[in-house]
């Protein structure tokens, strides 16, 4: 069984069946086409897109619905064809890549979610052109970050 040292979770053994192929890569990393989607109970709902071609390359992502429960997926026919999608839409897993910038807010790319067909194990970064979502959507802040009302 092949294994690798994942950038975030350490050593991982995996089956070839678990490999997700993203034939066009995640631009500009177009030569890195094989990924593992790693998740754990402690880090839920975060998922890790770990490159198998370049062990240092890993993306943190979140299911789009955990960011925006009303998110409506819109995917171009050529993107669906690229992942050989023929089955039900429930076969599609849709995650948004998260960016932690130095001092700015943590954001997610809801404009271009990574869509994976769980049957064909193929994925694509499906860029939407309708301007409805941002490539750097600030993540909703939780209770811990809410400002307390000023008492004076």
């Amino acid at each position: 069984m092949p294994s690798l040292i994942a950038r975030f979770s350490g050593p991982v053994d995996y089956n070839d069946d678990a490999v997700i192929r993203i034939p066009s890569g995640l631009p500009p990393f177009v030569n890195q086409t094989r990924y593992l989607l790693l998740s754990s109970e402690q880090k839920s709902p975060l998922v890790f897109l770990q490159s198998l071609d370049e062990p240092e390359l890993c993306f943190i992502a979140l299911p789009v619905l955990s960011i925006d429960s009303g998110y409506e997926l819109r995917i171009e026919p050529e993107d669906l064809a690229a992942i050989h999608h023929r089955g039900a839409s429930s076969d599609l897993l849709c995650v948004a890549i998260v960016t932690f910038s130095g001092d700015g807010p943590v954001t997610a790319n809801l404009m271009a979610p990574v869509v994976i067909d769980t049957q064909t194990r193929l994925g694509v970064q499906a860029i939407r052109a309708d301007g409805r979502y941002s490539h750097a959507e600030p993540l909703p802040s939780g209770a811990a970050e809410r400002e307390t009302p000023c008492s004076s």
């Binding site: 943590v106 790319n109 939780g142 209770a143």
Partner: protein, 76 residues
């Protein structure tokens, strides 16, 4: 920003060697043809933005920053 009005089949030039032609207009969608030297890179703007964003996202945060983000989701 320079604004031009063009009809179907009309075109305009950029820098004398790049031609942009309006091929078709239907509903809210415009099909555009571009004739340019091979050295000119043509990219949809969204792809460029996604490419930049992926580059920033590939710089992974500290464990503390990840833990802080998780806390936000667990507090919701």
């Amino acid at each position: 920003m320079l604004v031009l009005t063009r009809k179907r089949g009309e075109s305009f030039l950029l820098d004398d060697e790049i031609e942009v032609m309006i091929l078709d207009i239907e509903g809210g969608t415009v099909r555009v043809g571009i004739r340019a030297p091979k050295s000119v890179l043509v990219l949809r703007r969204e792809l460029k933005m996604t490419s930049r964003q992926n580059q920033s996202a590939a710089v992974l945060p500290s464990d503390q920053a990840v833990a802080a983000l998780l806390l936000r989701f667990q507090n919701r």
